[in-house]
Amino acid sequence: MNPRSILAIAGVAALALSGCVKNADPNATNAINVSSTVDDCEVSATSATSGNVTFAVKNDGKKVTEFYLLAEDGLSIIGEVENIAPGTSRNLTVQAQPGSYFTECKPSMVGEGVGRKTFEVTGKQVEVDANEQEATAAAVAAYTAYTKDQVGRLVTEVEKFVAAYQSGDDDLARKLFPLARTSYERIEPTASQFGDLDPKIDYRKPGAEAEGIEFTGFHRLEMDLWLKEARKNYPDEKITALTKAERTKYGNQLVADVKALNEKVTANDFVLTLADITNGAIGLLDEVAAPDGKLPGEEDEFSHTDLYDFYANVEGARVAFESVRSIANSKGEAAKELVGDLDEQFAAMLALLSTYGNYKDGFVSYDTVNQQKRNELGAQLNALSEPLSQLTDTVLSANK
């Protein structure tokens, strides 16, 4: 994985989003046709040379669609076009740096995309001539698009999870639980800014009780799915299985709450700033280290699926970092060193977490990770958090 190639292009992505790619040499433009159908996203080429690349996206499906160019991590958005009505076309132009990418369409504009395919850009590094304001607008636009994308995915993943839970397929629900949470964990500081939703969606049992609010959301369902662990953690309480009616109630509420979150982040007045993005990155890592967080194994105290959340928090922080990379890189030598350091620490953190598994095959249960190993994770988390806390100042500083 070479995060540098992604980052180089992030600034450009912003240009594309704000629709102001300048000095584009028409001769150098790669024109690529995309057809968004009901269940696929056909792209007329699998590679292009670096420089301006234009995707002419035609909606050959039945629902309003979107097209994405994603970075190599599959999460960061390099460029997107939204609201392509059936039968119409829209163009996406990006100034692409050499590297590996993914293309993807999203009919009905919510949830998981369809037809994800790799897309290679070859050739030489392209000089970027974005000014500060454009670069900032680009970074914010890219990260905002990412947030919307994640919340959209959250809705569909939660619907799947809740459907399994309500149908009584507990084995499947237990499998889907940690996966349904990942989109949320990647953008949690953003969700937290809508004060009343985070407590409903993601409060832990002790937190809800301390505040005297009803215990609902992910962890309420978790407690019901891992009853034996719940009784072990709270031996003095009589914890009973939820009835079918209660499953319906708590399941429906979780779906309604993540849908409400989706409405908030897709609303026109949803605005993020550059500092929101970089501070959010630190917030994500704080979520891991907190005494009621993942590192001490308190977040998912019944399922012990903390490592999924941990990984997702780090991924979310890295996307935030990626979206401001080109800005940071324009701030002089010390800033470049910081970017290099963060590349190294993010890679080390994710590599260490990967020794415990992955989303597809599953992560090991966190109660099997002994104290010494938790300490090792904590030490790497500190190594990453410390330079990351310098990022806001760096991106907000004057150009050097």
Binding site: P206, G207, E209, A210, E211, G212, N279, I282, D286, A289, A290, P291, D292, L295, P296, Q371, R374, N375, G378, A379, N382, S385, E386, L388, S389, T392, D393
Partner: protein, 416 residues
């Protein structure tokens, strides 16, 4: 940072004030006097009077160090044991606060064949303004000791608050002793020897060492800093605010006459998420507290003791200069129907947790006429932006009986 000499001087001048404030109708006045002694350090010899209308250690100018112990009564203890224990504790405390050994025989005068009465580690250290303050937890008034009828109506377990993460091992207790001194060893010596006296009747449930005061109870003292690096508690009740002390600190004994002149003590062990806090940018740290970090002035301007202007609007923030979720706003009497509490907390650091994070924070202590004052302020703090960086892990409440005249026992009113 004042030198120890400065502190000694200011403390003495302070004590004069307390004496004046407390003189009305008091049998003995809680005040400190420097006595001439063999030690060449004035501050080490500085002493706080144990006897008085109120117990010392509440309005006494906050000393530098704390050792606090909460006790459970043993399963065999009965009413008579408690009465005797309190009498013995009172006698010992009166000696210890004078800088004396716990008994006349002390550390070396008991002959070679018995263990010394006094543990000896404070020999030659001087009184160091030691105060010893006793309190009674709700458990003392349950059905074990026939004291239920003496229970102050206000003394009940605290409700749970937002962001509580309480642990039994840091919470509760039937009795408590707060020992404060300017030398930590003097405070530890006091608790150690009083604990020894209690064996068979009471034993320590939990204890807390505090190494730096975080509160000021006297206007001549500089406002100290908490482990977040901020001056907190600037708007404390000071020991010369006689009317406010009467209104907000001293219990009137309306429902339990033995409590007249006493107070209620709330202890909260608050862990700080030190590593996360240290990665917060300065502007946000200041927004969270509502004060500037260097001077301690409210963000609305002025100096440390300038009253915050909560109405002042910021064009940049599109809201008030002092944020709606800032600590200074929510803890301020303006946000709490004018209610005040007397804070007397200490910083603590006790090594690290098993994830390599510093275990430190604030051992919060407050004295109030009714626990409801604390409850209201703490509820108001539910929206405090600071909550992201703290966790309350311990909680206890105690009724603090009034002070005693020479020859009387602490809490004698319980048994009359």
């Amino acid at each position: 940072m004042p030198t120890s000499n400065d502190r000694g001087l200011s403390r003495r001048s302070v004590l004069g004030l307390i004496g004046a404030a407390g003189a009305a109708g008091a049998v003995g006045v809680a005040g400190a006097v420097a006595i001439a002694g063999g030690d060449d350090s004035d501050s080490a010899q500085s002493m706080v009077e144990f006897n008085g209308a109120h117990q010392a250690g509440i309005t006494t100018a906050a000393q530098e160090h704390l050792y606090f112990a909460s006790y459970d009564l043993t399963s065999t203890a009965d009413r008579e044991d408690i009465k005797e224990l309190l009498a013995e504790w009172t006698e010992a405390a009166a000696r210890l606060t004078k800088g004396q050994e716990v008994t006349a025989e002390g550390a070396t005068g008991g002959g070679p064949h018995k263990p010394p009465d006094d543990t000896g580690e404070a020999l030659g250290l001087g009184p160091n303004n030691l105060t010893i303050t006793f309190g009674f937890g709700p458990g003392l008034f349950d059905d074990r000791f026939g004291l239920a009828a003496k229970r102050p109506a206000e003394l009940a377990e605290l409700p749970s608050f937002a962001f509580d993460l309480l642990e039994d091992r840091y919470s509760g207790g039937d009795l408590c002793i707060q020992a404060c001194a300017d030398d930590p060893q003097v405070a530890v010596h006091a608790i150690r020897n009083l604990t020894r006296i209690a064996f068979g009747r009471a034993q320590i449930r939990w204890a807390q060492l505090g190494y730096g005061r975080t509160s000021t109870t006297d206007k001549s003292q500089e406002t100290p800093r908490n482990l977040f690096g901020f001056k907190d508690g600037t708007a404390n009740i000071f020991n010369d605010e006689k009317e406010d002390l009467a209104k907000w600190v001293w219990a009137d004994g309306a429902n339990q006459p033995w409590m007249a002149g006493g107070s209620f003590l709330v202890a909260r062990k608050i862990m700080m998420l030190i590593e996360s806090w240290d990665r917060v940018r300065l502007s946000e740290q200041q927004a969270i507290f509502g004060r500037d970090k260097g001077e301690g002035a409210p963000l609305s301007g002025g100096t440390e003791f300038t009253e915050p202007d909560f109405e002042m609007a910021s064009t940049e923030l599109g809201g008030p200069v002092i944020s709606l979720t800032s600590h200074v706003r929510l803890a301020h009497p303006d946000a709490n129907a004018g209610k005040r509490i007397l804070r007397r907390g200490y910083n603590f650091v006790e090594g690290n947790n098993n994830l390599g994070q510093i275990s430190g924070g604030l051992f919060f202590l407050s004295f109030q006429r009714s626990p409801q004052q604390f409850i209201d302020v703490q509820k108001s703090l539910a929206a405090d932006a600071l909550n992201e960086y703290i966790r309350h892990v311990g909680s206890a409440i105690f009724a603090v009986p009034p002070g005693v005249k020479p020859g009387e026992s602490i809490g004698a009113g319980l048994f009359s």
